[in-house]
């Protein structure tokens, strides 16, 4: 059995996906949204939108 290539998943990503995977996100505790960090050189219009999800714990 050969060793699995470490970068297989990375290789399957499109350039855009790979770039988005590298992006840093932070939790905005005031709004409950995950927001992307701004990166130098990014077009603000192409910034991903914040992600809002309600928290719920299973009983």
């Amino acid at each position: 059995m050969g060793a699995a290539p470490n970068s297989l998943q990375q290789a399957e990503l499109t350039e855009e996906q790979a770039r988005e995977k590298e992006r840093e996100w932070f939790l905005d505790a005031e709004t409950g949204e995950l927001k992307p960090d701004e990166r130098p050189g990014d077009d603000p219009r192409s910034q991903p939108r914040p992600v809002r999800a309600a928290r719920w714990t299973f009983d």
Binding site: Q9, Q17, E24, F26, A29, G32, A53, F58
Partner: protein, 327 residues
């Protein structure tokens, strides 16, 4: 460990055989909430070797619980905490599990304090924001690390899709639960979801790894703890829904460590805030955790810098004024 015999075989449960293929990691853990998340976390911690485990939960097992709980039909109607502790003691005799059928927030102070004080790590896996906050306060007071596993639900599709694990270190070395959950005061959190598209056991397994890393900072797996990213989000194997695909750009199993900034004003619970606590967090190197990746930049309080500049300008002005008067 006592050489207890299993019911079906006469083979003694000797310590070296139990941990022959899995080096034991141990420590004392308080798990508040023995539901679907907390229940599986407790089981996994017992497998890893943690002992003792104290489980606190006021509820009894209902029929609708059993599809997503380690307990099953034989335990229906029994208190979740004591029934699960009993099951763990039976299945993993090396784990001294103790169940407490109680609401953590309603426990007498002394009892709550004694549960918290002996624990190496606290886990808050309840469906009550008030209880999660109570565990946070207790962890800070006792100076114990804490882990807060949960599930996120897309309010539009009402499906649980993303697992969330927040972890905290005491002493303002990381933002506390309150720093991360200010919005949860608004109580807009979903109370019921239709289904679970994220595997609850996946969240429980990951939570157990975080607990292990916190309890054993010298262990290789503590590398997963990066104080600049104290929230871990998990996505399961199900196709990513449009609501969360920006965070998880690829389909399938993935995790993302997310930064939780200290609040812009001092946190009412841990007193940490953006301009003071972040420098504390990057300066404190006494916890044995790996150094933060990327290097946190200490930030100066804007007000203090402006005051200093103003003071300098005033002094220079007065000095030049004095000099011109002399000449």
């Amino acid at each position: 460990m006592d050489l207890r015999l299993t019911e079906r075989s006469a083979e003694p449960l000797t310590e070296d055989r139990v941990w022959a293929r899995h080096p034991r990691r141990t420590g004392a853990v308080l798990i508040v909430g023995a539901g679907a998340v907390g229940g599986f976390v407790a089981e996994e911690l017992a497998r890893i070797g943690f002992s003792p485990l104290h489980l606190v939960d006021p509820d009894t097992l209902a029929l609708e619980n059993i599809v997503r709980h380690p307990l099953g039909a034989p335990e229906l109607g029994q208190p979740k905490a004591t029934a699960l502790a009993g099951r763990i003691r039976r299945d993993f005799p090396s784990c001294a599990a103790v169940g407490h059928c109680a609401d953590f927030t309603a426990l007498p102070d002394e009892e709550r304090w004694s549960l918290v004080r002996w624990a190496d790590v606290l886990v808050a896996a309840t469906d009550s924001a008030a209880c999660q906050r109570a565990v946070n306060k207790a962890a800070l007071m006792a100076g114990r690390p804490a882990v807060f596993p949960a599930v996120w639900v897309d309010p539009r599709i009402r499906d649980a899709e993303v697992g969330e694990i927040l972890w905290t270190l005491p002493g303002r070395r990381t933002p506390c639960y309150e720093c991360a959950a200010a919005f949860r005061r608004a109580a807009s959190d979903t109370q019921a979801a239709r289904g679970a598209r994220v595997d609850i056991q996946l969240i429980a397994l990951a939570t157990a790894q975080v607990v292990t890393a916190l309890a054993h900072p010298d262990d290789a797996r503590s590398a997963l703890l990066d104080r600049r990213h104290t929230a871990i989000y998990l996505h399961g194997f199900t196709p990513t829904s449009p609501g969360v695909e920006a965070v998880f750009p690829t389909d399938g199993l993935s995790s993302r460590s997310v930064r939780v900034p200290f609040p812009p004003r001092p946190c009412p619970v841990c007193r940490g805030w953006r301009y003071v606590a972040s420098t504390d967090a990057s300066a404190g190197r006494d916890d044995g955790l790996p150094p933060p990746r990327g290097g946190a930049q200490p930030r100066w309080p804007v007000g203090a810098v402006l005051t200093a500049v103003l003071l300098l300008v005033t002094v220079l002005f007065v000095v030049s004024l004095a000099q011109s008067t002399h000449s």
